[in-house]
C-alpha cells in the first residue's frame, strides 16, 4: 500500500474530519476563555489575597503545572466517577483543559501585572479608585499589553493540546483522523491531513494574534511619538 493522493484529498474535506476541526476550534476557545478567568482569579489571589487565598492559588498552580495534562484528563473522566463525581466527555475536556491552562496563565498574568509601573497605582488611587476599579480600569488593561504575546503562544499550544482529548474519546480533530484511518487503513493520509489542519488553524491564529498585538501597542507606538514632539 503506497501513498494515495485521491484518499488524501478526499480526507481533507471528509465530513468527519471537518466536524473534528470545528470541535477543536470551539473546544480551544471555550477552554481558553475559562482558563483565562481562572488565571486572572488565581493571579489576583496570589498577589493580593490573604494568606489562605494565597495558599489556595499557589497549590492550584503547583498541582496543575506539575502534572501532565493527559493524567488530569484521564483522572477527571475515568477516575472521578469512582468517587461518584461524573462529568461527560465534553465537560471533562473543557474542565481539564481550562484548569490546566488557568495554572499557566496565572503566572503569565502575574508577570503582566508586575510589569505595570508602580506610579499607575498611585495615580489611580489619587483620583479615588477603589481596588476593583484600579484593577479593571488601569492595571489589567495595561498588563494586557505584556500578557498578549505569551497568551497568544498559549492559545497556539491549546489548539494542539486538545488532541489529547482524543484519549477520552472526544471527537475532535485527532480522534476524527483516527476514526478515518481505521476505515480504509489509510493511516498516513489521514494523520497528514489532521496535521495540515492543525497547521492551518495555528497559522490563522498567528494572523489574528498579530492584529490584537498591534491594537494594544497602538498607544505606545514609537513613530507617532516622534512626529508630535515639536508641538
Amino acid at each position: 500500500m503506497s501513498w494515495s493522493w485521491p484518499y488524501f484529498f478526499d480526507y481533507m474535506i471528509n465530513g468527519l474530519m471537518l466536524r473534528g476541526v470545528w470541535v477543536t476550534i470551539w473546544l480551544s476557545i471555550i477552554s481558553m476563555i475559562l482558563g483565562l478567568g481562572l488565571g486572572i482569579i488565581a493571579a489576583l489571589m496570589k498577589m493580593y489575597g490573604n494568606r489562605i487565598a494565597r495558599y489556595i492559588a499557589e497549590f492550584y498552580i503547583w498541582l496543575f503545572r506539575g502534572t501532565p495534562i493527559l493524567i488530569q484528563l484521564v483522572i477527571i473522566y475515568t477516575g472521578l466517577p469512582q468517587l461518584g463525581i461524573r462529568f461527560n466527555v465534553v465537560e471533562s475536556c473543557i474542565l481539564g483543559l481550562a484548569l490546566n491552562e488557568g495554572a499557566y496563565l496565572a503566572e503569565i498574568i502575574r508577570a503582566g501585572i508586575m510589569s505595570v509601573d508602580k506610579g499607575q497605582e498611585d495615580a489611580s488611587r489619587a483620583v479615588g479608585m477603589n481596588w476593583r476599579e484600579r484593577m479593571w480600569l488601569v492595571i489589567l488593561p495595561q498588563a494586557t499589553r505584556t500578557i498578549i504575546p505569551p497568551l497568544g503562544n498559549q492559545f497556539n499550544g491549546m489548539l494542539k493540546t486538545t488532541s489529547l482529548c482524543s484519549v477520552i474519546s472526544m471527537q475532535e480533530l485527532m480522534r476524527s483522523a483516527q476514526m478515518i484511518a481505521q476505515i480504509q487503513f489509510r493511516v498516513l493520509e489521514a494523520y497528514c491531513i489532521a496535521a495540515l489542519w492543525y497547521l492551518l488553524l495555528v497559522s490563522i491564529w498567528g494572523l489574528i494574534q498579530a492584529r490584537i498585538e498591534a491594537h494594544y501597542e497602538k498607544p505606545f507606538g514609537a513613530e507617532e511619538a516622534i512626529s508630535s514632539v515639536e508641538n
Partner: protein, 258 residues
C-alpha cells in the same frame, strides 16, 4: 473640625519606614484658598507628608483632616476605626494629586485620561463629563491634544494633562509632589503658569517644590522640612529675608548660590 476655615489639619502625625523616621510629629493647618510651598532636602519627609495626606501611605499615629474628611479613619463613639479600601477611595476623590513623574494612564487618550474618573467612578453623564474635560484642556492650554496618547506628549504637556485629570474630580485641595522636578528646564514655566492660575482661582494647594520663584510669586506660606520636622513656617517675605531657623539659612544659601 476645630477651625471651619481649615482645609487641611494635621495633629502630631508620625510615620516611619522601619527604623527610618520620616515624619516625627507634624502639626500643620492650611486654610481654604491658601497656597503652601514645602521645601527641604531630599529625604526630609516632604513627599511622604503629601502622600500621607492623600492616604497613599498610612500614618503610624496622629490625625489628618483634609477636605472635610478624617483621612483613613472613621470616628465611632469616640474611637477611631481604620477605613477599608473603598471608603478611603471616596475620601481621596476630594483631593487632587500631581506627581513628579506625571503618571498619566498610558493606554488611553488624553481626553479619556481626564474623563476616566468622573465618568467611570462617579458614573456621571459622559456628554457632561466630556464637555468639562474639553474645558479643562482649554484651561491648561492644550485644547488640540484630546486624541493624543500620553506617550506622544512632552513632559510639560503631560504634567499639564495630569493637573487637568486631577481637576476633573473637582477637588477641594490640590497636592503637588515635585511637579517640575522631572521636566527639562524650558518646560518648567508652562507647568508653573498653570499652577499660578489655579492659585489665583482660589484653589487650596500644598506644593512640594524647589522652585523658589513659584514660592515667591504664588505662595502664602513657605515651609522648610528638616529631619522629619517642620523647622520653618512663614510668609514668603519672612522665609526668604528673615528666616528664623539656622536650617533655613543653610538651605537658602545652598539653593540660591548659583
Amino acid at each position: 473640625m476645630d477651625d471651619i476655615g481649615s482645609v487641611v489639619s494635621l495633629k502630631n502625625v508620625k510615620k516611619a519606614f522601619g527604623n527610618n523616621v520620616v515624619l516625627s510629629g507634624i502639626d500643620l493647618e492650611v486654610r481654604k484658598g491658601e497656597v503652601v510651598v514645602i521645601c527641604g532636602r531630599s529625604g526630609s519627609g516632604k513627599s511622604t507628608l503629601l502622600r500621607c495626606i492623600d492616604q497613599l501611605e498610612t500614618i503610624d499615629s496622629g490625625q489628618i483632616r483634609a477636605a472635610g474628611h478624617l483621612m483613613g479613619f472613621k470616628e465611632v463613639k469616640g474611637k477611631l476605626l481604620p477605613l477599608h479600601d473603598s471608603a478611603i477611595a471616596r475620601q481621596q476623590r476630594d483631593i487632587g494629586m500631581v506627581f513628579q513623574n506625571f503618571n498619566l494612564f498610558p493606554h488611553i487618550s488624553v481626553l479619556e485620561n481626564i474623563m476616566l474618573a468622573p465618568a467611570r467612578i462617579l458614573k456621571r453623564k459622559r456628554s457632561e463629563v466630556k464637555q468639562e474635560a474639553v474645558a479643562l484642556l482649554e484651561r491648561v492650554g492644550l485644547p488640540d491634544k484630546q486624541n493624543a496618547y500620553p506617550r506622544q506628549l512632552s513632559g510639560g504637556q503631560q504634567q499639564r494633562i495630569a493637573i487637568a485629570r486631577a481637576l476633573a474630580m473637582k477637588p477641594k485641595l490640590m497636592l503637588f509632589d515635585e511637579p517640575t522636578s522631572a521636566l527639562d528646564p524650558e518646560m518648567i514655566s508652562e507647568v508653573l503658569d498653570v499652577m499660578v492660575d489655579l492659585s489665583k482661582a482660589g484653589m487650596t494647594m500644598i506644593v512640594v517644590t524647589h522652585e523658589m520663584g513659584f514660592a515667591r510669586a504664588a505662595a502664602d506660606r513657605v515651609i522648610l522640612m528638616h529631619d522629619a520636622k517642620i523647622v520653618e513656617d512663614g510668609a514668603p517675605g519672612d522665609f526668604f529675608e528673615r528666616p528664623k531657623s539656622e536650617h533655613t539659612r543653610l538651605f537658602l544659601s545652598k539653593i540660591l548660590q548659583h
